[in-house]
Amino acid sequence: MKRALCMIVFALLAMQSVALAVRPDEMLSDPALEARAREIGQSLRCLVCQNQSIDDSDADLAHDLRLIVRQRLMIGDSDEGVRRYIVARYGDYVLLKPPFKPETYALWLGPLALLIAASLGIFFFYRKQKT
């Protein structure tokens, strides 16, 4: 019984999403635009609390950036256009998901290279032991 209760509590905790810092007065009246703003906001890093997205951060700068995202959407900018607008000011660092380009090849391909190297190492190690 106790165990079941615990499981329910943890299941509920897991389902709960992180509280957003987006204030009601920031939100756009158009739900479709607001949904796009949320998606963009969650992909942008807050420059002040650097492991939070601008949607999660209570920092003043995050608030300002959320407003800019919404302003850009209101004048008809695309999602990619809005991201480019912010990246032009703060660089790729502001993107929580780093782009795939020569500077980040090591980041994206490094784990794969390590996996291949380790697999080869293990393969040759065991083949040698058998003989």
Binding site: L61, D64, L65, R89, G91, Y93
Partner: protein
């Protein structure tokens, strides 16, 4: 022979790792902390802006005002503690070959004026960036931040966080001298 090389490999990797960590730690001690975001605006023209003046007897500041002389733009705020530490150094930069432009970031004009009365006013011109919009166009993510701009209006150097006497001596003053030639 092959076995011996393999045997040494972990030690070599470990030594390389320690060397890398030591190198990063030295850089961090010198101020290159991981939260320092590399500037993307350096070597690009200053963004378009046109801000009102803080003081009634001065004109404001706009992008075209940056042409023709070396400018040092300093974003500061009356509520910013590191700005207090930096301020005496700015006063020391007066008349050293750059027009000193202050940007009162998210600071009420009265509070900015009171702060300058208390701390001294090093600036040749002071603009108010009350909503912080121009600061975002510059890529400011915390005050103080300082930008060195050449005669053509191109940003040549950015200091994130307060200026230090080392940065002024080793980087800023030599660059100002160079840009004035």
């Amino acid at each position: 022979m092959m076995r011996r090389v393999l045997f040494m490999l972990p030690i070599v990797i470990f030594t390389a790792l320690v060397a890398f960590c030591a190198w990063r730690l030295i850089l961090i001690a010198r101020g290159d902390t991981p939260d320092l975001i590399p500037s993307v605006i350096t070597d690009h023209p200053a963004p378009a802006f046109d801000l009102p003046s803080l003081l009634a007897d001065q004109t404001g500041l706009k992008t075209s005002d940056l042409k023709g002389h070396v400018t040092l733009i300093n974003f500061f705020a009356s509520w910013c503690v590191p700005c207090r530490a930096e301020h005496p150094l700015l006063i020391g930069l007066k008349g050293k070959g750059a027009v000193l432009a202050g940007m009162a970031y998210k600071t009420k004009p009265d509070e900015a004026k009171a702060w300058l009365t208390e701390m001294g006013d090093p600036y040749d011109v002071i603009a108010t960036d009350y909503d912080g919009r121009t600061a975002i166009d510059f890529g400011v993510y915390g005050v103080p931040e300082t930008y060195l701009i050449d005669k053509k209006g191109i940003i040549r150097f950015k200091q994130t966080g307060p200026l230090t006497s080392e940065v002024i001596r080793d980087r800023l003053l030599p660059m100002i001298g160079e840009l004035n030639q």
